[in-house]
Each structure stands twice: as structure tokens, then as C-alpha cells.
């Protein structure tokens, strides 16, 4: 059947047709829709695991019992899973095991840009690189048999432009899972990776590397397309294939799909048939380095953008520079300067009640984490000092608190983390804080979902009990409603003052979740508003300014005054702005 699918949907579809029976993932842009799609297909056990490492282990466990399994994550998620991944590179897999990882090239929603193909080299795994959704579909189908043939997990490396671009492709029926594969046989020499078993696995891994190189040399995913234009030939991997075709329709191209191990013979064949070779790959010059090391003269990164997606104009410019041609003229129309529009918290977001107060703590250090609450680093709150990686807020805060304590400086240190991120990788750090008695005030923001990635469910548990069990004294565990500004502020001040670890659990469902209850929108009573603009410190997108004035005080100081209105369609009636308003100017309509 002809379908119009994104690369993520296509990956899920391909895996499903290959008879995948277990899928486990942790959400993260640009990978999230892979599991979302699989969860809607019959015959698959699909789960959101608590983190990527757990997800990989769940998929591996299923593979051990003879069931085809897939795990999916974003590039930084594979860092989390990497400890187990390294071992899987040695012990391998039984039933087909596919690791779909999507790299956020251009870092639209990530803390970095990272090239997951390195893991293929580091862990000795075969790497498949689809150029588009049609490839992703067909490769996902194929990947399970490659995995079984070589008894190894297969890395399916997607990028944003593959994951999130829809193209047409033809789908087929699902292959029934092979029941004869089902079952588990104990094999301690293989699955117990104690030092005495490592040597043998390393030998087998070397044999596997050789077999994979042979398979890649003749794989249908590595295609040498000869063109009429022999001036520059291209070695291309991933979505850049279409960019090269767009810019140089007549060129010869070696399209790498089974990109690790590299099909060196094909690269030599291309090089022999053209005057010069250019490698086009996102994001690290990995293939370029390996081809150079193999003695094949290639051009590459030097002529292309150092990071981000490679576009057709950038490629044309790079090739022209390489050939010493005159540079193509710059585009005639330049972008208009328009204000930046960073992501914002939604109207009614419970985090606004939290950041309203955190933005006013001028003397505190606030260590942030990954989720919607990351947005607290921006306007109007500017309430964050660091954001590093999933779960890092607590560890960083711990280090800072200990260091301040040794200096005798009493700077308050806070850590802000959401429920999903806390369960992902925050818990070990909280046990550490409690055990070592670091004076950190942890704000655990429980909105019951993984909100930034679209509201995936998270384990529902008693966080007060959990953090108590991790060692925080029950007196220092406070549960508050972030909508209740005065009550929240009181608890915040008390816990910052306490000289021991404390946890404030701010509980309110995400406005985009099923549990959220919308109330009557508010309106501004103009006669009561004096333009103090304190409501703007809430940062709600439903509050907009109607008039701004500068007032000169008798002291000569100039203060800005702003009068506001509330956008009826956006307001959820959360009442936070009304509580922030000293004049009582905001009331239910």
C-alpha cells in the first residue's frame, strides 16, 4: 500500500512488518514517534521505559528469549545506554535486535549535536543509515535479519531530516513472528561477561567484524550511481544524499546505506571514475577520515559547514570553493530581522508558579535539568545557572553546595528536576545528596507526564515516600501546589533556610495532559490596574501588553509601567497572575 510517512513512522512500520514483538524506548526529539507508532500496531509489546539504558536492556532481554526487539532513542539517550551497549557489542544478540537512534542535527531540541555513527566503531556494530523514510522503512525490515545473521545488535542511525520528513513508500504485510525461534537456552559462557569469558568474545568479535565487512561490500544498501558529470564524485551518507542529488543531478554518487564497516572497494571504484571525490556527511567527518586513512584521496568537511544540516546552497558553495571557481552570488533577499520567539511555558503551566518565585531569588544558585522546566532559564524568569544533561541538576548542585560549605559561604543552592527526569537519572544523585548531607533544596516538579516530548506516561508513584526512602528526612519533604503562590513561597523560604537536604514536591498536572482541568478565563479590571507589571513576571503567554509608559519618579528614577489584557482563548483560569497582582485587578470573567 502506498503511504506518506515520516522516517520515524516508517521505521516503526518496517520493524513491525519484520515481526518485531517487543519495543522499549525513552522519549526524546527527534526519535519519539518510533515507539508511539509501534504502540499503535497489533502484536507488539511496547513500553516507555524509565530511561534509555533500561529500554535497551528490555529489548535485549526479549532478544535473549527469541523475540525480535527494537529500542529507540535520541542521540544523547544512547550515551545513557552506552554502558550496556558496550557489553552487547561483545555478547551480541540472539533474535534480531535493532537500536534506532536519531541524531538531532542542527540541535533544534538538544544540548548538543552528536554523531551516533561513532558507536558503530566503538562497539563494533553494523550501522545502517537511511537517506529518507523509504530507506528507513526498508532498512528497519532488513535490520533484524542482519542482526540474526551476525548475532549482533544493529544500529539504525536516523537524523532529524530522516525522522521528521514525510515521503511516500509502499508498505507490505507483517511477517508472522517465527515461533520456532522463541525460547531461552542458558548459555553462561556467552551471556555472563566475566573476565574469563571476555577473551573468547573478543576473538569472535574480530571474526564478526570481518563477516560484516564482507556483507557491507556487497550490500544492496551501498549503491554506486554513475553519472555523466565526472568532475566531482560524491560519497554520501544519510539525508545528504538528496541534497547532493538536488545540487548535482548528473554527478556520480556512492550512496552509503550500510555505512559501517565501510565498503572500501566501492569507494575506490568511485574514486577511479571521477576527477575528485567529495564526502558529504552529517555531523562529523567520519567516513572522510576513514577513506583518507585507507589511502583514498577525498575532500570533505573543510569545504562544508562545520555543524548543522548540509543544504544544497551550502554544498554548491563548498564544491565551488574546492574547485577554485567563483563563488555563487549571495542570495538577494536577506532574512528580515524579527524578534526571537523561544519556546515558552504554556498558559496555565504549573511551572510558572515555581519560576515566578525562583526568578526573584537573586542570591541563589539554581541548577536546572532537561524538560519543559528548562525554559525557566529564559525570559522573564532567568532562573537557572546550569543545564548539563538528564538528571545532572542534583549532582551539580551537590558539588556546588559542598564547595560553598567548605568556604563558609552560605549561598543557597537549588536543583530543579521534573518527575520523569528524576526517575530517569535523578534518583542516584538524590541518594548521594542525602547520604553526604549536602545542603541542597531540590524542587521536584511532578506534572505526571514527560511533557516536552508530548506527554508520555511516567510511573505514578508516591514521590514523598520515594525521596524519604532515599534518605531525605520526612520533615524536609514538602508537597505543595505551585498555583498557590503565597503558600509555595513560604515553603520555599523555609526549605532554603534549612541547613540540610530538602525536597519540595510541586504537584500539578501538565496543562496538555488528560488530568488537567481548565477553569473560567480571567479578565483585567482596567480601573484597578496601576501598570505595575508584576503580572508579567509570571511569564504567561496569555498576558499581553496593551500600553507601555515611562514614569519619572520625584527621585529622578525612571520606571516602566505596562497595562495588560488577558487573551481569553489562551487563559486557563489558573489564577497565578491574579495571585501575583497586588491590586486584585484580575478576576474570573
Amino acid at each position: 500500500m502506498r503511504e506518506f510517512l515520516s522516517g520515524n513512522e516508517a521505521t516503526a512500520r518496517g520493524a513491525w512488518e519484520a515481526g518485531v514483538e517487543v519495543a522499549a524506548a525513552y522519549p526524546g526529539t527527534p526519535s519519539t514517534e518510533i515507539l508511539e507508532t509501534l504502540a499503535g500496531l497489533p502484536g507488539v509489546y511496547a513500553e516507555w521505559s524509565t530511561n534509555e539504558k533500561v529500554a535497551l536492556e528490555v529489548a535485549f532481554g526479549a532478544s535473549l528469549t527469541g523475540r525480535r526487539a527494537i529500542t529507540a532513542m535520541k542521540h544523547v539517550g544512547l550515551n545513557v545506554a552506552s554502558d550496556s551497549l558496550m557489553t552487547l557489542g561483545l555478547v551480541g544478540a540472539k533474535a534480531g535486535l535493532v537500536i534506532a537512534v536519531s541524531d538531532d542535527i542542527g540541535f533544534s531540541s538538544s544540548q548538543n549535536e552528536q554523531d551516533s555513527r561513532f558507536w558503530g566503531r566503538f562497539v563494533h556494530l553494523p550501522v545502517l543509515e537511511p537517506a529518507d523514510a523509504a530507506d528507513a522503512y526498508a532498512m528497519a525490515r532488513d535490520a533484524f535479519s542482519i542482526s540474526e545473521r551476525h548475532q549482533v545488535p544493529v544500529l539504525l542511525r536516523l537524523t532529524t531530516r530522516v525522522s521528521h520528513v514525510k515521503r511516500t513508500l509502499s508498505t507490505a504485510e507483517r511477517e508472522a513472528p517465527d515461533a520456532s525461534r522463541h525460547g531461552y537456552n542458558r548459555d553462561v559462557e556467552r551471556w555472563i561477561i566475566t573476565p574469563n569469558h571476555v577473551g573468547k568474545r573478543l576473538e569472535l568479535r574480530a571474526q564478526r567484524d570481518a563477516a560484516l565487512a564482507q556483507e557491507s561490500a556487497t550490500s544492496r544498501w551501498n549503491i554506486l550511481e554513475h553519472g555523466a558529470d565526472r568532475k566531482v564524485g560524491f560519497v554520501v551518507s544519510g539525508a545528504a544524499y538528496h541534497v547532493v542529488r538536488e545540487a548535482f543531478p548528473q554527478a556520480s554518487i556512492l550512496k552509503l546505506g550500510f555505512s559501517h564497516p565501510l565498503p572500501l572497494a566501492l569507494a575506490r571504484e568511485l574514486a577511479a571514475s571521477v576527477e575528485q571525490v567529495m564526502v558529504v556527511e552529517e555531523s562529523e567527518p567520519l567516513v572522510e577520515t576513514e577513506l583518507s586513512a585507507a589511502g583514498i584521496a577525498v575532500h570533505g568537511r573543510k569545504w562544508l559547514p562545520p555543524h548543522g544540516e548540509i543544504t544544497a546552497p551550502a554544498l554548491e558553495r563548498g564544491v565551488a570553493l574546492m574547485l577554485g571557481d567563483q563563488q555563487p552570488a549571495a542570495p538577494k533577499v536577506l532574512p528580515k530581522k524579527v524578534f526571537p520567539r523561544p519556546p515558552t511555558l504554556c498558559a496555565g503551566c504549573p511551572y510558572m508558579g515555581v519560576y515566578f518565585w525562583l526568578g526573584q531569588l537573586k542570591d541563589a544558585v539554581i541548577c536546572g535539568d532537561i524538560g519543559c522546566y528548562t525554559l525557566g532559564c529564559g525570559e522573564p524568569w532567568n532562573a537557572m545557572d546550569s543545564i548539563i544533561s538528564m538528571g545532572a541538576s542534583l549532582g551539580v548542585a551537590h558539588g556546588m553546595a559542598k564547595s560553598f560549605a567548605s568556604n563558609g559561604a552560605a549561598k543557597p543552592v537549588l536543583a530543579v528536576i521534573g518527575d520523569s527526569t528524576f526517575l530517569h537519572s535523578g534518583m542516584p544523585a538524590l541518594a548521594n545528596i542525602a547520604h553526604h548531607g549536602a545542603n541542597v533544596t531540590v524542587l521536584l516538579l511532578d506534572n505526571r507526564v514527560a511533557a516536552m516530548t508530548g506527554g508520555q506516561d511516567t510511573p505514578r508513584l508516591d514521590f514523598a515516600q520515594l525521596v524519604t526512602a532515599l534518605g531525605v528526612r520526612p520533615e524536609r519533604v514538602r508537597t505543595v501546589d505551585p498555583y498557590e503562590l503565597p503558600a509555595f513561597s513560604k515553603v520555599l523560604r523555609e526549605e532554603i533556610k534549612a541547613s540540610e537536604p530538602s525536597v519540595i514536591i510541586a504537584e500539578r498536572p501538565c496543562v496538555l495532559s488528560r488530568d488537567f482541568v481548565r477553569r473560567r478565563p480571567l479578565v483585567v479590571i482596567d480601573d484597578k490596574c496601576n501598570g505595575c507589571a508584576r503580572c508579567l513576571e509570571v511569564g504567561c503567554p496569555a498576558i499581553t501588553v496593551t500600553r507601555r509608559e515611562h514614569e519619572t519618579r520625584p527621585s529622578g528614577k525612571v520606571v516602566e509601567r505596562a497595562w495588560v489584557r488577558i487573551e481569553n482563548g489562551l487563559c486557563t483560569g489558573c489564577d497565578v497572575c491574579a495571585k501575583a497582582c497586588a491590586r486584585g485587578a484580575m478576576v474570573a470573567a
Partner: protein, 201 residues
Amino acid sequence: MTFDILVVGIGGQGVLTAADAIARAALEAGYEATKTEVTGMSQRGGVVCSQVRFGERVAASEIRPGAARLVIAFEAAEGLRWSHYLAPEGRVLLDPWRAVPPIVSSGVHEYPVDPATQLRDLNLQVIEIQARGTAERLGDARLANSVMLGAAADRLPFPEKVLRDEVLRRFGGGELAARNAAAFDAGRAAVRDDCLTAQAR
């Protein structure tokens, strides 16, 4: 040769859905098509742009600046932000409705005074369509999507009915489909009138 369209707006407006309807209509009309999506942080009120390309064959999914035939802007400043993607003969279909973000409300940045005039000053052809306003008059701001698509329908190289059917297909039958049909037709009519006015001038 491809027909390139940018659909732009802010997170939560249904930009991706509108672009999807155009791409699927193009497929229905016999073209090959690609459509790009944005997810993650931008969905929280940030800048959203979905690019649709269709033609006999489509290679890269990314539209070159200066190549788009149509920019469909669900928000005034966003129309301006992406205007450099338009080809000289291209058009901006602009809802002058403004979404003013907290970064502007708090006084850190300023909203452009008159995006439509600024666009015209760039010698671009601007068709203003009060999609949000029309939708609110029809009783539901969410209908803005269908109003905009109706306004775009006669600017595409295939019969408007193909897009109309694709939009309505999503709502099944019944009340919701009828409301969206009314919105689509209102958008189409509004632009037709606008063109007549332009000619009269």
C-alpha cells in the same frame, strides 16, 4: 521543477497538520511530495515552519531561500520571518493575527509595527486573510486552519476540490466536517474578494 510552499506559524497552531493536508492533496493530484516537520521544544509556542515540496520528482526536502511560490503564515510576524524564502513571483498568504510572546510583553524585544506593510515594502505580493478572526466569527478559533487552507486552495496547481476533500476527510462526516467546510469556503471566498479588490485598484 517543484512547487515549494512554506507553512509557518507558532507551536500549537496546527501548522504541521495544515502542511500535511497540502502535501497529501498534492499526492492525490498525482505529484510526488515531501513534507518536513518540527517537533520538540518549538511545539511550546516557538517558531514552527513546515516545508512542502511537490512535483514530478522531489530530491531534497528543504526549500531554498528565494524559491518558494507560497508562504502561508498563520501569524503576522512569522510571515515576515520567513519572507526571504519567497521567489520574486511568490506570494505571502498572511493572517494579520498577532501572537505576542512573553519575550515581547516583558519589553525585552519589540513586535514589528506592521508586518504586512513591511512585506509589501520588500516588493512581495501579500494577501491578507483574517483567518483567526473569521474562525472566531464562525464560533471556534481552531477553524483558522481550514480558513487558511481555503484561502490557499486557488493558489495551487491543482483543483481546489482536491485540497477541500483532503481537509474534510480528516473530520469524517457530520457536524465537525460541516463547520470546517464552511471555514474552508469562507477562506476561499475572502481571498477571491481580495483579488477582485486588488484588480479594481
